[in-house]
């Protein structure tokens, strides 16, 4: 698995804060489990130097299999990306990381997304539906209605969609975590009760979700972000503090790599706040 040269097929703004980029050139074997990611080299010079991590999704185009990423313009690299025209050549490393672990389809799935956190979770819901999961609740938080991604796509038969916006322009007016909490308060699952939770978003939000899930005894997988240099486990730059359940006591904390052991972790394995 070498770095793959790819070509920008399209690159368009799809929301005030978000672009969709489609990259062609991946092989037919290229396949991505939901939650896994790629490292994208933003150009061929040394500025910017490091690759950028993005949730990976494989889509079909008229030209065959292509890689689809959705990115927010937050800094230097994504700023450069937003100006890229079709035919720009880039390099992709991946797919990398572990991806979500999907339990048996009979469970009830609570998907909790904050902002861009919806991106890997959207891939997850597709996979859930493909594997005949029927009881899916998506809680999606966004700044405003226009920042809410994939709304149409996720309002399907299998999914109950619960949006929440900061300004109340659609759905619940407030934090998505509050929306989740209210949902669970009304529909209290017994310990376990077959409910599982998947979350991705800002770390404060993830901490809140982890707390709620813990209170209701729901297993929870969270997908983390971390600055990365290599993406393949060698630089140890992406460390996150984990709890070693085998050795209790003060020494039971150690650093794991978001790029290899993650980006998806069981929330109980993480030392919060991250």
């Amino acid at each position: 698995m070498k770095s793959t040269p790819v070509t920008v097929l399209s690159n368009k703004r799809i929301a005030p804060h978000c672009f969709r980029m489609v990259l062609s050139g991946i092989s037919e074997e290229f396949d991505v489990e939901p939650g896994r990611f790629i490292m994208l080299r933003v150009g061929d010079r040394y500025d910017p130097l490091l690759r950028r991590p993005f949730a990976a999704y494989v889509t079909e185009t008229v030209r065959g299999k292509a890689l689809e990423i959705f990115y927010a313009v937050v800094g230097y690299g994504t700023g450069i990306m937003s100006g890229m025209t079709p035919d720009t050549r880039l390099e992709v490393l991946g797919p990398l990381g572990n991806g979500f672990t999907i339990p048996d389809p009979s469970r009830r799935f609570l998907i909790v997304a904050g902002g861009m956190g919806i991106v890997p979770l959207r891939g997850l819901t597709h996979r859930l539906i493909d594997t005949n999961c029927h009881n899916i609740h998506v809680f999606a938080g966004a700044k405003t209605k226009s920042h809410l991604l994939f709304e149409e796509e996720l309002k399907t038969r299998e999914i109950s969609f619960h949006p929440a916006t900061d300004d109340g322009s659609t759905g619940y007016h407030g934090f998505v975590t509050d929306r989740l909490d209210r949902f669970l308060a009304k529909d209290l699952p017994k310990k376990g009760n077959g409910t599982v939770c998947f979350a991705c978003g800002p770390s404060a939000m993830l901490e809140a979700v982890a707390g709620i899930a813990d209170r209701y005894g729901i297993p929870c997988q969270v997908s983390l972000e971390s600055r990365m240099a290599c993406g393949i486990g060698v630089c140890l730059g992406c460390a996150v503090k984990l709890r070693n359940h085998r050795t209790p006591g003060p020494d039971n904390e150690y650093y794991g790599r978001v790029c290899v052991e993650g980006p998806v972790f069981e929330s109980k394995d993480l030392v919060w706040p991250i």
């Binding site: 070498k2 290599c230 486990g233 060698v234 140890l236």
Partner: protein, 311 residues
């Protein structure tokens, strides 16, 4: 075809391109991206007597043409390396160099002794230059006396080829190099990272948990090259040069400046098979220039006229 072999003490390397410590894991991680057998050598992540947790995140930040890191020498410890990693590494025909460090001189010696007792280690690189830990590391590398003492002690603990890795932040790096040579080192590795810093102006906080970190990558190449050139003229043992190497041309600059071998660090993150590209590029260069032997390039810098800066 040109002869690319190069010697570091009694160790003969297939070619002069090694993967640098801390940027190549324990080697095995890269086996999907390149054929490890083609490398001149692999310097594994710094090993200590006991496992270490390393520094709290955030640990890295990008800068223009470079990156800051403050990993803090997180590693699985020398025992776990020997039992969990070395058996797999031994299956490759590649020189494995163990990068080591300790909090005390005695710890350095213990790690070196432990590694000498097992099969599959081609050499030891003594890191006296890590800027990201409190005790050990750079403390020994800034002071010629300490560096000499430490080298002498480790020299007694092992018969393996001994490389000592220096910090560019030493007040007098040539003096450190000379003393390390006198104490029995087989080669000098340089440079380790330069101390740097980056601030998030939105929050007025440092980007790294440890405030400062080590700068690596293409940005530091001119600084590293100058130090390698300086030191190579002052010692008789081989110098292994590094700092920002990302192409065969970069590697050749170091070799022309006097390095017998080079290490590639940060560039592995940009392109995981870059070491192979660099080896091939060096081969092409020798071919194009009709040079039979890499050694003819080592230290071949030609100075026109005098090196006079105006006075």
């Amino acid at each position: 075809m040109a002869d690319l072999t190069t010697k570091i003490g009694k160790l003969t390397l297939k070619n002069p391109v090694l993967a640098a410590s801390g940027t190549f894991g324990y080697g095995l991680e890269y086996s999907h991206y390149l054929d490890l057998n083609e490398l001149g050598g692999i310097v594994v992540k710094g090993l200590s007597l006991h496992p270490r947790n390393g520094n709290p995140p955030p640990r890295i930040m990008e800068t223009t043409g470079g990156m800051l890191n403050s990993i803090g020498l997180q590693n699985i410890g020398v025992e776990a390396f020997i039992t969990e990693k070395l058996p797999d590494l031994r299956r490759y025909d590649v020189a494995v160099i163990a990068n080591i460090f300790g909090n005390t001189i005695e710890e350095y010696a213990q790690v070196a002794r432990r590694l000498s007792a097992v099969e599959g280690i081609a050499g030891i690189e003594v890191n006296i230059s890590c800027p990201n830990i409190k005790a050990g590391g750079i403390m020994f590398g800034r002071d010629p006396g300490q560096a000499e003492m430490l080298t002498a002690r480790v020299r007694k603990a092992t018969l393996l080829p001994l490389l000592v890795k220096l910090t560019p932040d030493a007040p007098d790096i040539s003096e450190v190099a000379r003393r390390v040579q006198d104490a029995g080192a087989d080669a000098i590795s340089l440079v380790n990272t330069f101390v740097g810093m980056a601030i998030d102006v939105e929050t007025a906080t440092p980007f790294l948990s440890t405030i400062t970190g080590g700068l690596s990558g293409p940005a530091i190449k001119p600084l590293a090259l100058r130090l390698v050139w300086e030191v190579a003229r002052k010692v008789t043992i081989p110098v292994v040069g590094m700092g920002g190497i990302a192409s065969a041309r970069d590697a050749l600059e170091f070799i022309i400046a006097g390095a017998h071998a080079v290490q590639v660090g940060t560039a592995n993150f940009i392109n995981p098979s870059i070491c192979i590209d660099i080896i091939n590029g060096i081969r092409d260069y020798l071919h194009a220039k009709d040079i039979q032997n890499l050694n003819h390039v080592v230290g071949s810098l030609r100075i026109k006229g005098n090196e006079a800066a105006s006075d």
